[in-house]
């Protein structure tokens, strides 16, 4: 229906970025410096400055994104260009460095840049992959509605459980009080809770329900059904949280590494001017 960032405007920004990377490569091959190709030649300087310009522009995205109602371009233009120019950096900056790496602040900057780019690439993958999964998983409900349904089922389970003796009562009580969704980053990302009290209650209640007296068996079956439904919904909610976490988590690398990169680049530029 709509075009994703990747195919946006018929790959306009891919074409621009490919051209920039191609031109750099061409210049690099054509250029025959004295000695090793490196950042110190005129081409090296040029490519370095271009790289720095691109990095700053890419980092500006974080600000541009929050300046609402400013400028005519859509944010989708910005992001599409962000993605492709960011990828082109791999080529341009590498050529700038002339494939010279070592244990120094220059290479630190380079590595940080690669980290930012790699996390960005992961990010854009989640952007393309996950949204459809979220819709499918929610099956027409919002997360809020799912949570409301779960709360309701808790209530219903409790009501049925009181007729079924202490052990079941306790299991249901625990499932209601201790089943949770989300949690720390890892729990969010796993999308599962191996110790989920509701799942446990379901297993145990099923086992107990087999041996319930005739008069209670009807309610036993009812409870199993309710717990199973609740367990499903919990799974659905956890998957939803997982998807959202996947969409967000890489930014915790992308953004701090961007800041580190800017600092390292400052150091790099200062050091090459002073100590070169």
């Amino acid at each position: 229906m709509q075009e994703s960032v990747l195919v946006y405007r018929n790959f306009l920004y891919l074409k621009v970025s490919a051209a920039a990377a191609g031109a750099s490569l061409f210049a690099y091959v054509w250029h025959t410096p004295l000695g090793q190709p490196n950042g110190g030649t005129w081409l090296g300087y040029t490519l370095g400055v271009v790289s720095l310009g691109i990095v700053i522009w890419l980092a500006w995205y974080g600000i541009r994104k929050r300046r609402y109602g400013v400028g005519r371009a859509r944010l989708e233009d910005w992001l599409s260009a962000h993605v492709y120019l960011g990828l082109a950096l791999v080529v341009i900056a590498t050529l700038h460095a002339g494939f010279q790496v070592g244990w120094n602040v220059h290479t630190l900057a380079y590595v940080l840049m690669l980290l930012v780019i790699a996390s960005g690439a992961f990010g854009i993958y989640t952007y393309v992959r996950i949204p459809g999964l979220i819709t499918a998983n929610r099956a027409g409900l919002t997360l809020e509605q799912i949570m409301a349904l779960i709360a309701e089922l808790h209530e219903d389970c409790r009501k049925v459980a009181v007729t079924l003796g202490d052990e079941i009562n306790e299991l249901v009580q625990r499932s209601a009080e201790e089943s949770h969704i989300g949690g720390n980053v890892w729990q969010q990302l796993s999308g599962r809770d191996p110790l989920c009290p509701t799942a446990e209650a379901l297993v145990r209640v099923r086992a107990i329900a087999r041996d319930l007296p005739q008069a209670q068996s009807e309610n036993g079956r009812k409870l199993v059904l309710l717990l199973a439904r609740q367990s499903e919904l919990l799974g659905q909610a956890r998957r939803d949280v997982r998807f959202k976490a996947l969409i967000d988590v890489w930014l915790f690398v992308h953004v701090p590494m961007t800041l580190a990169l800017l600092a390292a680049l400052a150091a790099h530029v200062v050091s090459v001017f002073f100590y070169w």
Partner: protein, 797 residues
């Protein structure tokens, strides 16, 4: 011997009370009859602490009472004091139930019991009407109430809510938090209520929070027990309290019984009044909202004026300054009255109006002086006003491809009615041919006028049909042929979801859709598949007529629609005479065939059309949609909206339904005939040339539009405090960032809220970036489209 007065004023709202005040000041024998036990019931019933606005600002107040923008409580208190100070003779709990007699001696029946007499009557009963009461045995139980001021007041009671409209549902849900609530629904389901309310009540019933009796009507009541007629027989509900929300009976029937004549059956019709506010019954005067003046200041001015008129003092109406502003440069040549006379003489459409109607009409309108060549409006503009030519000529540029093809209109004629009726884009551009003087009238005023003055209705209808046929079929139709077409043609109305014709029916004619929109569907392998959506301004049914075959698809109204029907022989005759039309029609036909084949192969596209029609696409001109296969749920769209609109987002992304990755968030549809506009007292809601429906600064916060919008997109909101700049937030953590809740202004001493005004999506008409929600969506998931563009473009690509 009954009491006798010179003047009896019925109703103590702003208009009636002001009349009473003036009468007292002038020492005339008078009485003000008020059915409630306090002054000004309408204002009394505003929400607590509501900020009452004093618009229009330019209108001076002329009354013995004072009034200025203030809190509801202050306004009421002032009036109470002043009414006492002036010794206004008010009788509370005195509902007037009948009026007989004539000027000099009217008999006024109060509460169906007592009669008093008066020489003249001023009817100032407003438009709120009487709340419909439960009319069953035992309904006089003191725990039956018709209003709910504060739901928190009740706790642990068993409360029966009778009436399943929006008001009933809202009360039931509010009460259910602390009480056991039973709601009585006369129908088998919740119909004709807002989607949001329907969802809420159905969920509450499902959960068992509220009990509902469907298809049930109250039969009788004893204290504590309500007996219902239900499909199975009878049922008894125990209750501690009954809240009946049965709607209001409009005051019109009461007014008519007093002998006052309304010019048409239409809801919008107003009684005909003389410039002195006298109705067709001599001695019986009508002022205030009932007379068509929906604002407090206007109502108060009329209260003052009507007393002066009755006393024989022919003062100038207080709205004179408004008209002076309107007429501007014209006043160098004429006086206000002369201008009004000139208009009436030069524009036949206005000749049937009384001077009072004309004044009111002009206050809403705009007077334009246009230089030769100047543009009045352009093709594809979304404006809906109607223009009348007082002096000069205009050119209608009828051909979209050739600006030089014009039809000319001269003084006395009108134009713009097509857009006004259809609510769609202008079908032609208009320029001034020479120096001209035009009156522009907003659609709302014009529609009121059409419904109130028969001559205006006829003129607009007849002339309108000729133009609609030309605009929607061909501008080349000759005058002579047109007359024949019109004679055979007739106007037909279709309620939403009713069928124009069915697949397989005989093809008896062609429909030009003038208002609303339709869907085209076909039975494919036993399933009804929607193939297309056609908005007003197009024709349907030509295929079978020209091809001499039965209908090959079903046409159904997507919303309430109107069409001109042209019978088959007349249509074939026309095509015969106009080869160019025939060619265009064949072309269109082929296009539709190709489209049909495409859609038949993609039934899911048809179900998306159906889904969007249910979401209001039938009347939308622009909808916000989200492609969920791209949306990363970052909420940047909502934040962008809030940040560009004083801190309150006009859209709710998460809410709203989804089908096949098409998500319809809660956001304005910019309807062609906006529901929100219908009852806005200061006429603050407008349609800009680009189609945006927006609210201007004259909003008085009455909340009518919020209630009237079926899509729940209007909110009442207080203005948020400004925020620090983005960089100060990012770098120094100052204030709150984008989308974060701001610390509300809590430090106001009296704890009062600022005025709450209506806010809604204005499609960012003042933003360079276009809709901020769309511009700020990083993934391109959010987009705004017209349904036509979506159905013919996005959907099939």
């Amino acid at each position: 011997m009954s009491e006798n007065y010179k003047i009896a004023v019925i109703g103590s709202g702003p208009s009636g009370m002001s009349a009473g005040g003036r009468a007292a000041e002038r020492g005339v024998s008078h009485v003000v009859l008020e059915r409630s036990d306090h002054l000004s019931d309408t204002i009394y019933k505003y929400q607590k602490g509501k900020h009452v606005m004093a618009t229009p600002e330019v209108l001076p107040l002329r009354s013995s009472m004072t009034f200025g923008a203030a809190k509801r409580e202050t306004v009421l208190e002032t009036w109470n004091k002043e009414a006492q100070g002036h010794k206004v003779n008010v009788r509370f709990n005195a509902q007037v139930t009948g009026i007989t007699g004539a000027k000099g001696r009217f008999d006024i029946l109060i509460n169906n019991k007592e009669t008093i007499t008066a020489e003249s009557i001023v009817m100032a009963i407003g438009l709120q009407g009487n709340l419909r009461k439960l009319e069953i045995e035992g309904a006089d139980w003191d725990r039956v109430q018709y209003q709910l001021d504060d739901p928190e007041e009740y706790e642990d009671e068993r409360i029966v809510v009778v009436g399943a409209g929006d008001a009933g549902i809202e009360n039931a849900i509010a009460l259910a938090k602390q009480n056991r609530v039973v709601i009585i629904n006369r129908q088998g389901e919740f119909a004709r209520v807002k989607d949001a309310n329907k969802a809420l009540i159905e969920a509450a019933i499902e959960k068992g929070e509220i009990e509902c009796f469907y298809s049930a009507t109250p039969a009788r009541l004893t204290p504590g027990a309500l007996v219902l007629d239900v499909p199975q027989g009878q049922a008894t509900v125990q209750c501690d309290r009954i809240i009946a929300r049965l709607g209001a009976i409009p005051p019109r029937a009461f007014v008519e019984r007093a002998g006052i004549v309304f010019p048409s059956k239409s809801q919008e019709a107003l009684p005909e009044l003389s410039p002195q506010y006298e109705s067709n019954v001599p001695g019986l005067y009508v002022i205030g909202a009932l007379g068509g003046y929906p604002l407090i200041k206007q109502a108060m001015n009329q209260g003052y004026e009507v007393i002066e008129f009755i006393l024989g003092n022919n003062i100038k109406p207080a709205d004179e300054p408004l008209l002076e502003r309107k007429f501007g440069a014209l006043l160098q040549r004429y006086t206000v009255d002369q201008v009004i006379d000139l208009f009436r003489e030069k524009v036949p459409l206005l000749s049937g109006l009384t001077a009072l109607q004309l004044r009111e009409f002009l206050i809403d309108g705009t007077v334009h002086l246009k230089a030769p060549g100047e543009i009045v409006f352009e093709r594809n503009d979304y404006t809906t006003s109607l223009y009348m030519i007082v002096e000069g000529n205009v050119n209608v540029h009828v051909d979209p491809n050739d600006f030089s093809v014009v039809r000319s209109l001269k003084a006395g004629q009108f134009f713009g009615e097509l857009g006004m009726i259809a609510g769609r884009r202008r079908t032609a551009s208009i320029t001034a041919a020479d120096q001209c003087l035009l009156i522009e009238s907003p659609a709302r005023t014009m529609i009121k006028l059409i419904n109130s003055v028969e001559s205006v209705r006829r003129a607009v209808n007849d002339e309108g049909m000729a133009r609609q046929i030309r605009a929607y079929l061909s501008h080349e139709i000759k005058e002579a042929d047109l007359a024949g077409l019109i004679k055979g043609a007739d106007r037909r109305s279709f309620k939403a979801e009713t069928v124009f014709f069915n697949e397989g029916d005989e093809s008896d004619g062609v429909y030009l859709i003038t208002q609303g929109s339709i869907t085209v569907s076909r039975n494919v392998a036993g399933k009804n598949i929607v193939l297309a959506y056609v908005p007003a301004g197009h024709y349907v049914g030509e295929m079978g007529v020209v091809g001499n075959a039965p209908r090959d698809a079903t046409i159904r109204a997507a919303i309430d629609s109107k069409a001109i029907f042209i019978p088959k022989p007349a249509f074939l005759d026309l095509i015969e005479k106009l080869p160019s039309l025939r060619r265009r029609m064949e072309e269109e036909w082929l296009r539709r065939l190709a489209h049909k084949a495409k859609m038949t192969a993609r039934p899911e596209a048809g179900s998306i059309i159906q889904f969007l029609i249910e979401q209001g696409a039938g009347e939308a001109t622009d909808m916000l949609l989200i492609d969920e296969s791209l949306c990363i749920r970052c909420n940047n769209c909502e934040i962008a909206c809030a940040e560009t609109h004083g801190g309150t987002s006009r859209l709710d992304r998460e809410a709203g339904p989804t089908v096949a990755n098409v998500h319809v968030p809660t956001s304005c549809r910019h309807c062609e005939d906006p529901h929100c506009m219908t009852e806005c007292p200061p006429d603050a809601i407008h349609r800009s040339p680009n189609g945006e429906v927006f609210i201007d600064s004259t909003c008085i916060g009455c909340g009518n539009c919020e209630r009237n919008c079926p899509y729940g997109v209007i909110h009442m909101a207080e203005k948020e405090p400004a925020k620090p700049g983005l960089l100060s937030w990012m770098l120094f953590g100052m204030g709150s960032g984008p989308g974060q809740d701001k610390a509300r202004k809590k430090d106001k001493k009296d704890g009062s809220e600022g005025p709450k005004l209506a806010v809604k999506c204005d499609m960012c008409k003042d933003q360079k970036s276009g809709p901020a929600c769309v511009a700020s969506c990083p993934t391109g998931a959010a987009f705004r489209v017209s349904p036509e563009a979506f159905f013919s473009g996005h959907l099939t690509r």
